[in-house]
C-alpha cells in the first residue's frame, strides 16, 4: 500500500537507487530503516513468469489454511464453491465440491410463508461470510475490519521504487507477484514485543511488513496449526506461501488461461508482423526513401 512514506523512506529510496549495484547482488530490503515498513522478499511462485501456472497441490493446501484459519474472520464474497472445481484452480472433483458445500449453511428465502431460512450450501452458492455485516466483524476483532479476501492478493502490493518498477514489466525480468509476496511476508512478520519504547494500543499487534507496523489482526497462524496430508512440512513458512498462492488464485482464477492465450497471441502476432515487414520491404524496394 502507499501509505507509509516518511522523509526517511524517500531518502532511503534515493540511497537505494544509488546503491543499485549492491541491490543487484540480492539485497531486496534496502529501504529498511528505523521502524519503517520492511520490504517483503521476492519468493519463487509457480504462477510467475511467462509460462506461469498455479500448482494444484499448493492451491489445495492453501485452501485448507484459508478454510480452517482465515475464513473464521475474513469473508470471500466473490468465491463460489463451484469455482473450486474449475480448471486452473485447486481442481476438486464435482462430488468433492458438492460435499464441501453441504458442510456450510447459507441463508435463503423468503419461502412461501415469507420467512428467511437456512439451508445447506450448493456448489452455485458463494462462500458464506463469517460475520453478518462489517459492524459485527469489527466488534469481534477489537475494532479492526478483516478485509474481504476475494481480490485481496491484488489489492495489496509494495513499492519497489525506481528503477525496479520499470524493470518489473520487462519480458524475462517480469515481476507481478507483489501481492502474494506481501501477504506471505505479512503472516511471518509478527513480533511478540514491539520495539523498545513503542506502546501499542489494545487490539494492536506489531508487524514489520504492515504499513505503519500496527495491525489489528492477531498473529493468525503458527507452526503446526493446520494438518497437511500430502507430506509438506506443516510450518508457518509453508502455510504463508500456500495460502498466499491460494489468495492469488482467488483474485485471478483465470491466470493460467490468460498466460496460455497470451503466448498464442504473441506467437501469432510475431509471425504476422514478420510477414507484414517482409511485404513492406518488397513494396518499398523500388522506391528510394
Amino acid at each position: 500500500m502507499l501509505s507509509k512514506t516518511s522523509l526517511g523512506m524517500i531518502a532511503a529510496r534515493y540511497v537505494g537507487a544509488a546503491l543499485l549495484g549492491a541491490a543487484l547482488l540480492g539485497a531486496p530490503a534496502f529501504a529498511e530503516g528505523g521502524h519503517d515498513q520492511a520490504k517483503p522478499s521476492r519468493l519463487s511462485w509457480s504462477f510467475a513468469g511467462f509460462f506461469g501456472h498455479y500448482d494444484q497441490g499448493q492451491l489445495q493446501r492453501g485452501f485448507k489454511v484459508f478454510r480452517e484459519v482465515c475464513a473464521n474472520c475474513h469473508s470471500a464474497e466473490k468465491l463460489a464453491f463451484r469455482n473450486l472445481g474449475e480448471p486452473g484452480g485447486p481442481g476438486f472433483s464435482e462430488a468433492q465440491v458438492k460435499a464441501l458445500a453441504e458442510q456450510y449453511k447459507v441463508k435463503d428465502g423468503p419461502n412461501d410463508a415469507g420467512d428467511m431460512f437456512e439451508r445447506p450450501a450448493r456448489p452455485s452458492d458463494n462462500w458464506p461470510s463469517p460475520f453478518a455485516n462489517d459492524n459485527a466483524a469489527r466488534a469481534a476483532n477489537g475494532g479492526g475490519l478483516p478485509p474481504d479476501m476475494s481480490v485481496l492478493a491484488k489489492a495489496r502490493s509494495y513499492k519497489r521504487g525506481f528503477p525496479w518498477f520499470v524493470l518489473d514489466g520487462l519480458p524475462g525480468l517480469m515481476y507481478q507477484e507483489h501481492g502474494a509476496d506481501y501477504i506471505a511476508a505479512l503472516l511471518q512478520a509478527y513480533k511478540d514485543e514491539p520495539p523498545h519504547g513503542v506502546k501499542l494500543d489494545a487490539g494492536q499487534y506489531w508487524n514489520d511488513i504492515m504499513p505503519g507496523n500496527r495491525i489489528a489482526m492477531p498473529k493468525p497462524i503458527s507452526d503446526g496449526q493446520v494438518d497437511y496430508t500430502d507430506g509438506t512440512p506443516a510450518t508457518l513458512e509453508n502455510y504463508s506461501k500456500d495460502v498466499s498462492a491460494f489468495l492469488m488464485w482467488m483474485a485471478e482464477p483465470k491466470l493460467d488461461q490468460r498466460k496460455k492465450t497470451g503466448f498464442r497471441v504473441l506467437v501469432f502476432m510475431a509471425i504476422l508482423t514478420g510477414l507484414l515487414y517482409a511485404t513492406k520491404k518488397r513494396v518499398w524496394a523500388s522506391t528510394p526513401h
Binding site: I10, A155, R258, A270, P288
Partner: protein
C-alpha cells in the same frame, strides 16, 4: 455542479459529458480526414510536395503496408500488457472496494495524467494549479504561433533537435514526480520541471527560432531522399 458540493448530481453530469466526448472525438477524426485531403500529409523533410510524380508514392500499398507493420508491432506490445502485466500501469488500491468516507492516503491518477498531476501539485495555489494544469495542454494548441523558425522539420534544426529530447525527458520526469508523494525534494523538483515545461513553449521556442542557424533545407522531398542515399552510399 448540481448542488453546493460534489455529489451524485455532479457525477451524473460528468458521466453525460464523458459520454459526449467520444462523439466530439469522432467529429475531430472527420476534421482530420478532411485536413489530410486538403493540405496533405506531413513528411520528415518538412517540405511541401513540389511534384506529385517525383515527391510522393501512392498511399496503397506504400503507406498501408508500412502502417500495417507498425500496427502489428504495436499490437504485440499491447498484448504483452494485456496478457502478462495487466496490473503494471494500475494501482493495487483500485482493487479495494470504493468507500466515499475514506480517501486513500495517496491519490495517484492514471499514468497518462501523471505529468499534469505533477504540474497541478507544483503550483502552491489551488486555482493557479488548475490553470497551469490545463495551460499545459493549451500550449499545444498555440504551438503554431510560438514556433518562430522558418524551418518546419527538426531534422534541419540541430539545437531544437536536442531540446526536443530534453523536453521529453522533462515530461517523463514530471510523470515520475506525479506518482510520488509531494514531500521534500520531490516538490522542488516538480517546480523546476514545471517551470522548464512552460519555458520550453513560451521562451525557448520563440527565441530559438530567431537565434538558431538551421542546416540547409532541401528544395524538394525528392532531393532530400536522394541526398540521404548519396550519404549512406558514401
Amino acid at each position: 455542479m448540481g448542488g453546493y458540493s460534489v455529489d451524485n448530481p455532479t457525477l451524473n453530469r460528468f458521466f453525460s459529458l464523458h459520454y459526449l466526448l467520444p462523439f466530439m472525438i469522432a467529429a475531430v477524426v472527420g476534421l482530420h480526414v478532411w485536413a489530410l485531403h486538403v493540405v496533405g500529409q506531413n513528411n520528415p523533410a518538412g517540405v511541401d510536395i513540389k511534384d506529385v510524380e517525383k515527391d510522393s508514392v501512392p498511399f496503397t500499398p506504400h503507406a498501408t503496408m508500412k502502417d500495417a507493420t507498425g500496427i502489428a508491432a504495436f499490437v504485440m506490445l499491447y498484448a504483452w500488457f494485456v496478457f502478462f502485466i495487466p496490473n503494471f500501469l494500475g494501482d493495487a488500491d483500485n482493487y479495494i472496494m470504493a468507500n466515499p468516507l475514506q480517501t486513500p492516503p495517496h491519490i495517484v491518477p492514471e499514468w497518462y495524467f501523471l505529468p499534469f498531476y505533477a504540474i497541478l501539485r507544483a503550483i502552491p495555489s489551488k486555482l493557479g494549479g488548475v490553470i497551469f494544469m490545463f495551460g499545459a495542454i493549451v500550449m499545444l494548441v498555440i504551438l503554431p504561433w510560438l514556433d518562430t523558425s522558418r524551418v518546419r522539420s527538426a531534422v534541419y534544426r540541430p539545437i531544437y533537435k536536442i531540446l526536443f529530447w530534453v523536453f521529453i525527458a522533462c515530461v517523463i520526469g514530471l510523470g515520475y514526480l506525479g506518482s510520488q508523494p509531494p514531500e521534500g525534494g520531490a516538490v522542488l523538483a516538480a517546480r523546476i520541471l514545471t517551470t522548464y515545461y512552460f519555458a520550453h513553449f513560451l521562451v525557448i521556442l520563440p527565441l530559438l527560432g530567431l537565434f538558431e542557424t538551421p542546416k540547409e533545407v532541401p528544395a524538394s522531398i525528392n532531393d532530400a531522399v536522394l541526398a540521404k542515399h548519396a550519404q549512406s552510399k558514401a
